[in-house]
Symmetry: C2
Subunit: 223 residues, 2 copies
DNA sequence: GGGGTTGATGAGGAACCTCTCATCTTCGTC
DNA sequence: GACGAAGATGAGAGGTTCCTCATCAACCCC
């Protein structure tokens, strides 16, 4: 769909982002340091850049500064350390379009990537659906209400996000790892069985048949 | 803006809804029983109907049935008792466009009223802003993230909703009663000081100057 | 059908959220 | 300045949420 450059030295995060974006149908390139990233950006081969601030050699500010001063208008989403106010403000003043504080959940990054791509493409703000429906389950993303068979159910924040991810990918098998990345974030203990537990909670609330287990693979939401 | 008919026998709820909708700039009429409501609807003088199911004399189902069988296509939002699954399903099958389970928060009803009016008007789904910004405060309604000076802050669900209401009405004085209706719902103890407490929490997080006290009146969010 | 692997689930601790209550502070008025 | 009213706030109860761990059940392969 879009060609996205990830400038990030931590392999774990780079791969977390790249993997997720590829699963969304985007083409990804990873640059592990500033100069490489800068070259690739200036080659003007990408639709969007995800840029880490804490890079070895040449930090993200410098990269940002250079590409803007050389006239590139490619959308840039900056990754900063959590609550590094200074970083964030500088980044936005320095020409970044948006930023994410680490650690972040992939679902959030994805939302911003979509927003920036949409804005860049000048597409008329796809009347994105604020309500997901599948079978008897209805999820209102704006009011955060959920209904099964037209009868309201209560979901906690975690349950809601998990169900949202499921309903955005109906019929697809989602691995525990994918779900953990999307709902819990990349820095969560991958050995935890918290996904299993929350799938259990959801099944109790939306009906056991809504989510089937694919042994050895993960879970699938049935439309 | 729109002419809205409220068919509801409980005065407390009728006035809660009417008051809120008038504050939004709509014209409201209240009918306290089914036959009156039916007459008014058939007079075709309203853009939208909020219809209670539990009415004396002629219940909401009957009203709905009659108006649909007589060809009216006015959008109808039905009010049902909480978790009365049967009611809800019957209502939707009977031609209602949406429903709210009692007790409800006004903010939610408003969201649905807007949606239905928009659909009825065939307006091209105003690219409604999913991000509220005022001064240094930024509130992303979709991802439920909040930022102050570009630095993420954590808000609980209640805090978020309260801040949302404030930011939707910047510069306006909002009474405790209004806030209670919007954020807590109409069946909440009006003598509670919970609004004061939560304003206190918000001030700690977004800065004390963001919300000023208007003595004897309520609170105002400053843009 | 036995054994190992994978998934489901109940129990429970820690943290958090929500609200009430009582007390303290601020404000306006006289 | 003294007083009463209005608002702010700390303490804390009660409930919920989130997660871990241990155990139990289902499944697969041979």
């Amino acid at each position: 769909m879009a060609r996205i450059l990830i400038v990030e030295d931590e392999a774990r995060i780079a791969s977390f982002v790249a993997k997720g974006l590829r699963a969304e149908g985007h083409q990804t390139t990873v640059a592990e340091d500033g100069p490489t990233g800068l070259d690739l950006i200036l080659a003007d081969d990408h639709d969007l850049v995800v840029l880490d601030i804490g890079l070895p050699g040449m930090d993200g500010f410098e990269v940002l500064d250079q590409i803007r001063s050389q006239g590139s208008r490619v959308p840039v989403i900056v990754l900063t350390a959590r609550d590094s106010v200074t970083d964030t403000v500088s980044a936005l003043e320095g020409g970044a379009d948006d930023y994410m504080a680490k650690p972040f959940r992939f679902a959030e990054l994805l939302a911003r990537v979509r927003l920036r791509l949409r804005q860049a493409g000048e597409q008329p703000a796809v009347a994105r659906d604020d309500v997901l429906e599948a079978g008897s389950v209805r999820l209102d993303l704006r009011t955060r209400n959920a209904h099964v068979d037209g009868h309201g159910i209560e979901l906690s924040a975690r349950e809601f996000t998990l169900l949202e991810i499921f309903m955005l990918n109906p019929g697809q098998v989602l691995s525990r790892e994918q779900l953990l990345d999307h709902v819990w974030g990349y820095d969560f203990d991958p050995a935890s069985n918290v996904v299993d537990v929350y799938v259990g909670y959801l099944r109790k609330k939306v009906g056991a048949s809504a989510i089937s287990t694919v042994r050895g693979m993960g879970y699938r939401f049935n439309a």
